[in-house]
């Protein structure tokens, strides 16, 4: 269903691309992939691309919050990009859009 892929870009940006439906059944795996990538690469910017995410529930959103925390731990900037309108609404409603660099 859902998955995460990791691309490190030369200038110190770690790009995390999420895809599909993120829920309780796969959030743990995705969380682990992200945590490890941040610990390994110690980036200056963590960027999560949600363009390919068609569904995300509160478990998935918790992964984003934890990613923000992991980024802060290594003093990296954190940004979320390209949520579909439905997901942007969800992030706004939960008061997270701003902290994620979304307006």
């Amino acid at each position: 269903m859902g998955e995460a892929s990791v691309d490190a870009i030369d200038d110190g940006t770690l790009r995390l691309t999420l895809r599909g439906e993120i829920d309780f059944t796969n959030a743990g795996e995705i969380h682990k992939t992200i945590r490890e990538a941040i610990a390994d690469r110690r980036p200056q910017v963590v960027l999560v691309d949600l363009a390919g995410v068609t569904f995300m529930d509160s478990t998935g959103i918790s992964v984003l919050v934890d990613t923000m925390r992991a980024a802060a731990e290594v003093q990296a900037e954190f940004r979320v990009e390209n949520p579909i309108p439905r997901l942007l609404d969800q992030l706004r409603t939960t008061g997270l859009a701003k902290a994620f660099g979304l307006t």
């Binding site: 829920d23 409603t93 008061g95």
Partner: protein
């Protein structure tokens, strides 16, 4: 499209399947767009809680009537109470704990009952008035 019918499936770790069945029922019952997504997400959160905090088994039953769609999520472990719902809040600084808040936010009416089969969470979403 005023189809009064009931759909039931057992709870399992296959959340995707629950979402598909609830979407199927709700669409045929006349829910559209945001309201359809709202109901599917709310049921997803409730079933996630059964898997995460409950017994992992139970049933999901969707019913339609004149007003809209009602979905009942029964957790066989029977530990969900009204107090959990009342305590639900959203805390953006915490990385967990807003499933019940999301449910309360998305549904038009919710209710918890204790049954012999377990604790029953009832979610209701109204259908918009028919156009034309």
């Amino acid at each position: 499209m005023n189809l009064e019918f009931t759909l039931r499936c057992p709870i399992s770790a296959d959340l995707d399947r629950v979402r598909r069945l609830v979407r199927l029922h709700a669409r045929h019952s006349g829910l559209r767009r945001e309201r359809l997504d709202d109901l599917v997400l709310a049921v997803n959160e409730a079933v996630t809680n059964v898997l995460d905090h409950g017994g992992g088994t139970g049933t999901v039953t969707a019913r339609s009537d004149r007003e809209g769609v009602t979905v009942e999520i029964v957790d066989a472990a029977g530990r969900l109470t009204r107090d959990h719902l009342a305590a639900a809040r959203v805390d953006p600084t915490s990385s967990h704990g807003f499933g019940l808040w999301v449910i309360r936010h998305l549904c038009d009416r919710i209710d918890v009952e204790q049954r012999s089969e377990g604790s029953l969470l009832r979610l209701h979403v109204r259908r918009p008035p028919a156009a034309g």
